[in-house]
Symmetry: C2
Subunit: 336 residues, 2 copies
């Protein structure tokens, strides 16, 4: 077996690699709490009466600077968001940089300043790091790890029949913006990535309805909304029914998606959260999301149902229904 | 300015990049305790009556499999050792892999199994991770982050005049083994890297003399013993006097060093610790080190002195003295 691009694309092929190779090769996978076998967004380790949440993400996005962000902003946001969707307030970040020989020093500064700016939005300090330089012409890879504190960690597996599904804003922005930029597709208003830390969105909802009422959470990164919802349905062994017309998609994103032949549900978002909450708290959660800068366009998009366990159904505008399949991998390569 | 290999080689040129670019571009650098500005082996964050220690390291060693170890063993050991020299018992690790397209699946399994084996030696679980695949023919980079718990963190800046310097075993093994292997230098007994987790060595000393009596600690990785001692002297503003003949060096390592024209004091070790303790505890610390598998060849190698503040002196076998300069960078490229 040779490793292919799809093995890193966040969909079913990656999941296979993780289950068949990674999980099987390792034997010590938990420090108590949520460990590696859960394949959640991060790990949660009981610590006193709280939980320590721990996560890591490598960032290899191309190009390094793209409409709406850059690899530095992406690295901080990606790690903060993995902590946030585990229910953890970000405590500190670590920054490992692998740099190709000949990389421009000014670009390095620009990336670091962007990391700093993004970290200040949260706010969370960058407390440790590492720098390696290699001969390979890779540009730069930025790998960020994060630790956070959760009063009560939220897994991605807690959906219950009767619950309601929310998304914190428009879907597809990061992947489609990146792809349009690469393909040179221009619009009157430039398509921009949504890359941003969304701890404030999660915190607002928890403040409104309580951590115990966030049944499941996930950030729809690689593989997009389709992948996130399928994982949530499969892990909780419930069905999820989404109303297609209720899922917010920017008109420019929809137009570009059509031109590119890519479903905006299948591509990475980098500043969004999918949340599953009890029906009686759905409106309150929605309001809390909408009260935040990054959650203005939040919407209730569907329900957790008893039928079709492990599957995601989409109700189309004209009343039909089809399965929303998890993508084999994100159709946009080098997206994060 | 263009990034050069030396910017990642762990010596003075890297230190310059860290001070002039990284530290200046970032503004939130501490969560309390030991933050980024200390440029220590990791960060320490006060947590209840203990400290949480956090560290990250990217591994880009070439070749991936080398005498005595491989990139997987290196990644686990490197991160465990950064925790250990901060005085922290390893709690959990994170594993980010960036893989070049076409990489062999069996090699990936071999690396993961080696990580598992090394993690079990500590023991410490791998609780979270990330996988990215890139088109670049990089082979594989393994980036590991770690968290640990310290009752009382040990910095690399606490040396006091009158203290004694210990090293936990032979110096230069990793760098010289790697370089000899690359250059095809063969000996009757193969030169092997010392790559190993050394938490047990640190724990044994702390058990014997108490954490409060380990004044300073560092693992002499990139830039070797020379770099570690110079950093310790500079940060504590003390002089360090080393007796060259007391520093343990394997005869094969010495022979290969001579052939390669490389000073074994200047190259990376991956299973060693340099410790500075009060004179009255030195013998006890030495015995504790020697009672462990990885500390069998430990030795007392020098003293912390009042003169030559910020500098390291070496007393040669014939009674002369010279400065031990910090290397510009590790003379062995892609060493870790
Ligand atoms: N090389 C690896 N070693 C150990 N665990 C891994 C590795 N790669 C991925 N994982 C684990 O697999 C699960 C899925 O990883 P994935 O990267 O899809 O999650 P994510 O971080 O939520 O998504 P994204 O990286 O797109 O934000 C996570 O639990 C992660 O910890
Ligand atoms: N890209 C970076 N961003 C933030 N901090 C960094 C970065 N690179 C290095 N550092 C910090 O600089 C200091 C020195 O790094 P260095 O890698 O030499 O330490 P180390 O981890 O002890 O050594 P080694 O990596 O050889 O084991 C550390 O405090 C580290 O946190």
């Amino acid at each position: 077996m040779k490793i292919k691009l799809e093995h890193g694309a966040g969909g079913e092929i990656m999941e296979e690699l993780l289950r068949d190779v990674v999980l099987k090769s390792l034997s010590l996978k938990s420090a108590g709490g949520i460990g590696l076998d859960a394949l959640d967004d991060g790990a949660a380790i009981p610590f006193g009466d709280k939980h320590l949440v721990f996560t890591i993400d490598g960032h290899t996005v191309k190009p390094l600077f793209f409409p709406g962000g850059d690899i530095g902003r992406l690295a901080i946001s990606g790690t903060v968001n993995d902590l946030a969707v585990m229910g953890a307030k970000p405590l500190a970040l670590a920054n490992s940089m692998i740099i190709g020989e000949g990389f421009d020093g000014e670009d390095l500064k620009r990336i670091l300043r962007s990391m700093d700016e993004t970290a200040r939005e949260v706010p969370v300090p960058i407390v440790t790091g590492d720098t390696k330089v290699v001969e390979d012409g890779i540009g730069i890879f930025v790998i960020t790890a994060g630790i956070g504190i959760a009063e009560r960690p939220v897994s991605d597996a807690g959906a219950e029949v009767g619950d309601v599904v929310l998304v914190s804003g428009t879907v597809g922005d990061h992947g489609i913006a990146l792809m349009s930029h690469r393909e040179g597709i221009a619009f009157e208003t430039e398509l921009e990535s949504d890359v941003a830390p969304i701890w404030e969105v999660v915190e607002a909802v928890a403040g409104a309805i309580g951590w115990e009422n966030i049944h499941a959470m996930k950030d729809p990164t690689r593989g997009g909304l389709s992948n996130a919802l399928n994982e949530m349905a499969r892990k909780a062994n419930v069905g999820i029914l989404i109303r297609e017309t209720d899922v917010p998609v920017r008109p420019e994103v929809r137009a570009a998606s059509d031109m590119l032949g890519i479903n905006p549900f299948d591509v990475a978002n980098e500043g969004k959260v999918v949340m599953i909450v009890p029906r009686e708290h759905a409106e309150e959660a929605l309001e809390a999301m909408r009260s935040t800068e990054r959650g203005k366009n939040a919407a209730i998009i569907g329900d957790v149902i008893e039928d079709y366990r492990g599957k995601v159904l989409v109700e189309t505008g004209i009343g039909g229904k089809r399965f929303l399949e998890p993508p084999a991998g994100d159709p946009v390569p080098r997206v994060c």
